[in-house]
Subunit: 124 residues, 2 copies
């Protein structure tokens, strides 16, 4: 599985779709977008801080462990750091696989585990 | 939930992302891509045939039933019909929701149910 993990301090630009891999049957793109919180004071955005080398190795481990359950050909993740305004993307994940179930389940499980385990702090 | 279902006889162009809905926290895009089949003769592509009005109402029903479990703000589906070459997208789904779990689970369940129940035939 090709894994590409990136942190950026600028708005996330979804990478161009590569065309033509004959074995790819499914592609999932997930955007985690900062939204106005409910039941609290409206916010302008969220701040994200990460220990980048630790976050990268935690995320790599999460993907490689999940690939045993959900085999995929390629995962690509971009996490934006610093201030992310409401309506903009903080987390981008793209998964490409032979079979649709793998790509969908990989994305779902990866987002859960990254939120739980990666050393990335979300601050209002 | 805004639902937009479309059939096309041309290559699918993913709709432009709308920006700025303050309540949207997650967007999932799923592409179902025609791939070369394994263990059988290589194919150039697949043919899809649909009874469009029936397929549309089946898909609308699937989305509205799933929205009880997985509340979403917007779903958009494009299914390509006729011949779809290997490497090109036959099915496009975009789901936008407040919470990431809803968007991911909606996509996963909708693809399963559409494959099972919608009157769309896939022919080699």
């Amino acid at each position: 599985m090709k894994t590409h993990i990136e942190f950026t301090h600028s708005p996330i630009v979804p990478p161009r779709m590569e065309i033509g891999a004959k074995e790819i049957g499914a592609q999932v793109e997930f955007l985690g977008i900062v939204r106005e919180l409910e039941d609290v004071q409206a916010i302008a955005g969220l701040h994200y801080e990460a220990h980048e080398p630790m976050a990268r190795s935690t995320i790599e481990k999460i993907f490689s462990e999940l690939a045993v359950l959900y085999p995929c050909e390629e995962v690509r993740l971009i996490h934006r750091l610093d201030f992310v305004p409401v309506g903009e993307t903080a987390l981008y994940i793209r998964v490409r696989s032979r079979h649709r179930r793998s790509a969908l389940r990989m994305t779902d499980a990866a987002v859960d585990q990254i939120k739980a385990d990666a050393p990335i702090r979300e601050l209002t």
